[in-house]
Amino acid sequence: MSEEIEKKIYRGRIKVPYKHTAGAYVERFITEIGKNNKIMGVKCPKCGKVYVPPKMICFTCFEKMEEWVEVGKQGTVKGFTVVTHSTPVMPLEPPYAYGIITLDGADTDFVHLINESDPKKLKIGMRVEAVFKEKPRKRILDIEYFKAI
């Protein structure tokens, strides 16, 4: 019976290329990490919150944010997972980890890869540091990963 069903299945694959207009803030952030290995955030003129990733409007005050500040390359892990199962759309071969990281000097969190795939060696509250790619490609992955310190 399963053979019969198998014959009636048509298998196909669609490629969906896309462009995404990232905007001036993302452009500046990506350029700074690639060119100068600096992680930049923006500060709200009203509540003083520093946003990394940067955005134009403060989430709580609705103020336009124009003051750029450099934040630390080190940060604290607020949460993590270790991906152990593979799908065709992953940035790396599993197992690999990623976490929510609060960079020193930032008030919002940042998601990125962590180069440790043993859940026993990962801990909420652990300290990590950004490792930059030698040849930047103007991607968020110009921060190649965060390493434990």
């Binding site: 669609i14 896309y18 995404h20 990232a22 993302v26 990506i30 990733p53 955005k55 989430f59 607020k78 949460g79 993590f80 997972t81 270790v82 991906v83 152990t84 199962h85 799908t87 065709p88 759309v89 940035p91 980890a97 990623y98 976490g99 929510i100 919002t108 969190d109 940042f110 998601v111 990125h112 890869l113 859940p119 909420i124 991607r139 968020i140 992955l141």
Partner: protein, 334 residues
């Protein structure tokens, strides 16, 4: 949903032409995981507003034919989130890890949710996974998928459909003398980047539940609700979100389960149908919650029926950490 199944106009593919919708207005609603509850709420608005007398609401999904993860990834910000956070499992794994770290919830307590819900599913002939003899050990020794989530901590990918008829007061009399009435509905969402949320709780569930309880006159959900069908994509999320819905204090979701309150025989049974952990055709999943709540109110649950249900809660959860809630009851809201 189109982007999960990799096709466009999925309503045409699913045969609207031959369905009762032929030559009638068709409106497609697709909001990710909340699709079913959005459908349910739109159905209610369409009839309660007086625009239509009665309508058929259908939710479905054929996950076997598409790539749900690929579809879900398109909902995430291309720069910040697609390379890492994207998909359904990753954020849910982060949420589980942060929730357990904050409140000391154990993997055993999470596994107990799966055991409860899949045991309930054995009473539901429409449930996808039939695992009547499932044990805590079996769940805890299943394959690790995305730490700390194991295979049986997460919902399956199902194929299925669900339909609900909405009718106004006059039309309802022609259909049944035992309807379930919609008492209140609420939608709540906020989102810019995933990490703007604290992740260990679900604030939208708290926000929506406050609205929906107020409208339906519910002061103490444990006392005033008789059953709840909540949207638990993982075992951990049922623990965390029963807290967010006000069934327990923050951090007490595990205790709520340990004390048996959410079991079939408890004060407020949660997911007698087996929940999302047992059946997950995404576009239908949240509509199934509403249908199951209606079945409980109408007393048509057979082996999964909770005795004397007057008031039931149904929940939808979706992509941008949305929550949608409906309260159904035996009595009309005055």
């Amino acid at each position: 949903m189109d982007h999960f199944e990799g096709i466009n106009f999925s309503e045409m593919w699913c045969g609207i032409e031959s369905a009762p919708g032929y030559l009638k207005p068709v409106v497609k609603v697709a909001t990710g995981g909340t699709t079913g509850s959005s459908l349910a709420i739109c159905g209610y608005y369409n009839v309660a507003s007086g625009i239509y007398k009665n309508i058929l609401v259908i939710g479905w999904e054929k996950l076997n034919e598409g790539g749900a993860t690929t579809g879900i990834i398109t909902a995430f910000d291309p720069v910040w989130e697609r390379p890492s956070l994207a998909g359904a499992l990753g954020p849910l794994a982060l949420m589980a890890g942060m929730y357990s770290a904050k409140y000391g919830i154990t993997p055993e307590q999470a596994a107990k949710v799966t055991v409860k819900n899949r045991s309930n599913a054995a009473n539901n002939p429409f449930a996808h996974l039939q695992m009547p003899n499932i044990t805590i050990d079996y769940v805890m020794s299943s394959q690790m998928i995305s730490y700390p989530l194991r295979l049986h901590d997460v919902c399956p990918q199902s194929e299925g459909a669900c339909a609900i008829i909405y009718a106004n007061e006059e039309e309802t009399k022609k259909i049944t003398d035992n309807p379930a009435w919609v008492k209140s509905v609420a939608t709540s969402h906020y989102y810019t980047f995933g990490t703007d949320d604290k992740m260990y709780d679900l604030p939208t569930a708290t926000m929506a539940s406050k609205k929906v309880y107020k409208k339906a006159g519910i002061k103490d959900p444990i006392r005033d609700l008789d059953v709840a069908e909540i949207y638990e994509p993982t075992s951990w999320s049922e623990l965390a979100w029963t807290e967010a819905l006000g069934f327990a204090e923050p951090g007490q979701g595990g205790k709520l389960l340990d004390e048996g309150i959410t079991q079939m025989s408890g004060e407020l049974p949660v997911n007698p149908s087996g929940g999302v952990l047992s059946t997950n055709p995404i576009g239908a999943t949240a509509l199934v919650r509403v249908a199951e709540a209606a079945i409980q109110v109408m007393g048509r649950g057979e082996k999964r029926q909770i005795p004397d249900v007057e008031t039931a809660l149904a929940m939808g959860f979706g992509g941008s950490l949305w929550t949608e809630l409906l309260i159904l009851g035996k009595e009309k809201l005055r």
